[in-house]
Structure formats: C-alpha cells, structure tokens
Amino acid sequence: MAVATRTAYGEALAELIKTNEKIVVLDADLTKSTKTNAAQTACPERHYNMGIAEANMTSVAAGFAANGYTAFASTFAMFATGRSWEQVRNSIAYPQLDVKICGTHSGIAVGEDGVSHQAIEDIAIMRVIPGMEVYSPCDQWQTREVIKYVATTGKPCYVRLGRANVEDVYTADYKFDPTKISVLNEGKDVAIFATGLMVQKSMEALELLKAEGFNPTIVNVCSIKPLDEDGVLEVLKNHKHIITVEEHNVIGGLGSAISDVSVKSYPKLITKIGLQDHFAESAEFNQLLDKYGLDAKAIVKAVKEIVK
C-alpha cells in the first residue's frame, strides 16, 4: 500500500502522545501538511501551534526538554533544518536536549512548490552537527518504528520525512534496529546503498536489472547517523562496485556518509546518484525524478555503466 512517511509519522505520534505523557508536539502553521494534526486531535493539550516562527519553535522545544519533556518539533524539512539550523545546533544539540526535529516534505518531493521548499541539503547540515542523529525512513512501517524508537532515546535527532505516497518495503511486523543497515536483496558484484524513497526506486531498478541478468545488492540505510559502519564495511568488501542513491545533493548526504567509511577503512570508487550539486525546479514530482536522474531508469543505467 502506498502511504507517505509523513502520514505514518502523524499516526505514530498520535498513538504515542496518548500513552506517553512526557511528549509534547510543536508545529509552525503546517499541522495539516506535517500531519501532526493527528496528534493534535488525540491530545490537544500537548500540541502547540507556534505560528510561522520556526527559530522560536526550535528553541521553545529545547525549553520544554530542559524541563523534562520529550519534544517533537515539525515543519517542512527546509525550515526545520535550514532556517533553524543554528537553533538546532546551539539550543538542542550542544546541550543534548530531548528534541526530535521531524522535517516533512524533504527532498524534491514537494514538486510544484519549487526550489524554495525543496530540502536537498538537510541530511548534510544535520549530520555535521556533533551528536545529532539522523534517520531517513523509507516507508510507513519503518517510519512508525523510528518514531517509537526516537521517543525513547532521550537525545536529539533529525527524522527526514517525505510528502509523496510511497509503496511498502516492509510489513506491519517490521522491527527497527538503529544499529543495523537493512539488506533488502543479497546480490553480487554491485551494491546499492539507498535511503528514503530512493529505496523503492532501487527496488524497481532491481526488477528491471534482473530481467537483464544483473543482481545488485540493495541496502536500505535509515540510520545515516549513527551509521552501522561494520555493516557498511562488510558490503564494501563483498562487492566490486558501489553506488549510493539519495533524493538529496550528492554533497554531504548518504553518499558522503558511505564514502567516509570507505575512505577510513576500505577505499573504493563510489558512484553517487542524487542531485548533482544543482537546484531542481517546479514540476510534478515524478517528472522531476525523471529529469534529475532519480528514478529506476537512472539507477539501471548507472549499474550497467559501472559493470561495463
């Protein structure tokens, strides 16, 4: 079934807020878009609209955490990580307060809204902050599990969520292990590390590639930080070619995180699929994925080129 990760987030939060009295939810005038309106309905007294003032919302979340609450702060990924970056760094990450920055509409999935609303740097600017954890779930089941998990850590994190409906990768009985990458297909020669909705695109590519006799390994990396370095190293060692795929600039995101492990422990050539250090534009989401080389076709092409 196709469900947006933001919808799964909203539903998971609505469940959690009913049972966990320490949870508060903050939003910046986007409750219907971020889907925190579900938590608002479930528990109106612990849901706060902070208006169109993201910097204040982020530091207010820190204040709630300083006085014993677990604060979820949501808006579009662009503003949650970009406009409020320094509030995340200084008010939340430095004092290690229990705040979950949950940014929806990440990547270019906002489509027609265009570049001002397309967060293609969010993974980079969050993972670079000391102690900041970064989770990028790929489907509704992984999202529900990630939200349940981050509510228990007592630490800050960023959760990257999407606008578009995405097919299930996992099933309702999925259990999230933050210490492990998730190998979805054990193939050979080529390994593809993907995150977010590019996991589904990689699985689509796998079907196309299988028809032509290729069988790449597909790895879903949800916990970009902390990263399962041993697991990544194992994959690097067991494959000739490595590809990373992300709906993000190729600078600073998943591709860079995998490269960091490689550089340190097992140097390899790595092909990075993502936005090639340029902005996208306004258009229907699937047209954007096609134009900017973020669909199954592009992954298939990259695999064939690399093997040749």
Partner: protein, 268 residues
C-alpha cells in the same frame, strides 16, 4: 550598608578578577546586571543548594549568555554550586565562556547565541504551565539582543500563551559592541514594543535594590500576561573608567586596571 550590597561588591570584584585572569570575557554587561541578578538569586527565586538539580524550583536563563562571568560569580557568592570561578574560560574548566547547562548546576540553559535563550525560557514556562508546576522562569535579556528577530517571535509566543510565570529582565544599558544601541540599530521604544506585544511592563532603575525587589514582586503577582522589567542600567557600573564605555563590552583589564577597579569597588 545593607548585606546585599556586600554581595554585589564581592560579585563585581570576582567578575573583574575572572575576566582579568582569563584575559578575555565580557565585563561591561555583567556589571550592569549585577544588582538585578543578585536580588533575584539571593531573595526572589526559590533556588537553593539543595534543590539546584531539581526542576521543582524557579529557573533563570541568561539569554545574554556573554554575561556568564556574572552568572558564575553570583552562583558562587550565593553558595548554590561548587565551582572555582578563577578557572573561568581556562582549559579543562566547566566554566565555559558562554554557559553550558550540562557542566554547572544552576546554569538552567546553554546560551550564548543571542535571541535563543528567551525562546527556550518560553518553552520552560509553557512546560511549567502544562505540568502545573508553579515555579517561575526568569530571563536576563540584553537591550542590543532585542535587535534579534527571534526575541520578538518569543515575545509574541509568550503573550499568546499567557505566560504569567515568565519574567524577562531587560538590562537596558544602552550600549552594544559597536556603540550606542540607538546608533547601531535602534530597538527603541522598548517599553511600547513589549506593551504592543501584550506584555505587562515595569520600569525601574536597575541598580536600585528596593525598586528591583518591588518589580519582581509585581511580576510575581501579575496574572494573565508575561512581565517585562525594563531596567535602566549603566554598562560597566561600579568602575569609573568602565562606566558607559562600549569599549568595555568584551575586553580584559590590564594588571593596573584590575588594581584600580578593585580599589574603587572596595571604597564604594
């Protein structure tokens, strides 16, 4: 001389010694808020060495985190926490140039980047309302700091959520690093602006102990709105050659200047 004045004198002397020893730090804006914070910690806020680790007490956020020498000095003078103020800004010390809440009991928020502390205090006041915790949240805010847009986002939110458990003390010493606040980027009229944002306003001489006491009392008793105490102060207060000098915002005194400053404070 009343006892509190002995404390303000000791606190001022320590601030100057700390910054001299560290060869860096912010003296002017620490000296301007000394009475305001001394009355708060010694008389108004229910903070004790026993409850210092608890959430069940009043909290104070130094939104102007660069006044850290004042914060450490007052915590030490009030014997609220065990710190060696002379390690201020030195390697391996808990006393960071801008305060870290995880290093020192009694530092209630990590601050330093202007504008963020008041927002965090709004969050703490909202948290107290939610948990029916009657303790109060105090903020020391700089006047130059009000040039940060985030201060007004916080002011709007505090009024929107009727945070009468929040009291912001505005240290209006009229100077910022580059000079007169009205010349650098005029934030005035601060009284009218906060009133327009829905705040209760009390205006005082920020060095007059009785006026400070009365202001905290009024803030505590006022219901339905957050209170701003607009405190008129003198930057560098207590040391003749530092008073009203923007240059003393963030520099350390020489050995001779230290000696002169301590002599003046002792003679007061």
């Amino acid at each position: 001389m009343e006892k509190l004045q002995t404390h303000t004198k000791n606190i001022r002397k320590n601030i100057i010694k700390m910054v001299h020893n560290a060869k860096s730090g912010h003296i002017g804006g620490a000296l301007s808020a000394t009475e305001l914070m001394t009355v708060l910690y010694f008389e108004e806020a229910n903070i004790t060495a026993e409850n210092i680790k608890s959430n069940d007490r009043d909290k104070v956020v130094f939104s102007k985190g660069h006044a850290s020498a004042l914060l450490y000095s007052v915590l030490s003078e009030a014997k609220l926490t065990d710190i060696d103020v002379m390690t201020y800004r030195l390697i391996n010390s808990k006393l960071q140039g801008h305060p870290n809440m995880n290093y020192v009991d009694g530092v209630d928020m990590s601050t330093g980047s202007l504008g963020q502390g008041i927002s965090a205090a709004v969050g703490m006041a909202m948290a107290n309302k939610l948990s029916k915790n009657d303790n109060r949240i105090y903020v020391l805010l700089g006047d130059g700091e009000t040039e940060e847009g985030q201060v007004w986002e916080a002011a709007m939110a505090a009024s929107h959520y009727n945070l009468d458990n929040l009291c912001v003390v505005l240290d209006n010493n009229n100077l910022q690093i580059d000079g007169d606040i009205c010349k650098v980027m005029n934030p005035k009229p601060l009284d009218e602006k906060f009133k327009a944002f829905g705040w209760n306003l009390v205006e005082i001489d920020g060095h007059n102990l009785d006026e400070i006491r009365a202001a905290y009392k009024e803030a505590r008793e006022f219901k339905g709105k957050p209170t701003l105490i607009l405190a008129h102060t003198v930057k560098g207060k207590g040391v003749s050659f530092m008073e009203n000098q923007a240059g003393w915002h963030g520099i350390a005194p020489s050995d001779e200047q230290l000696e002169q400053a301590l002599k003046e404070l002792e003679a007061e």
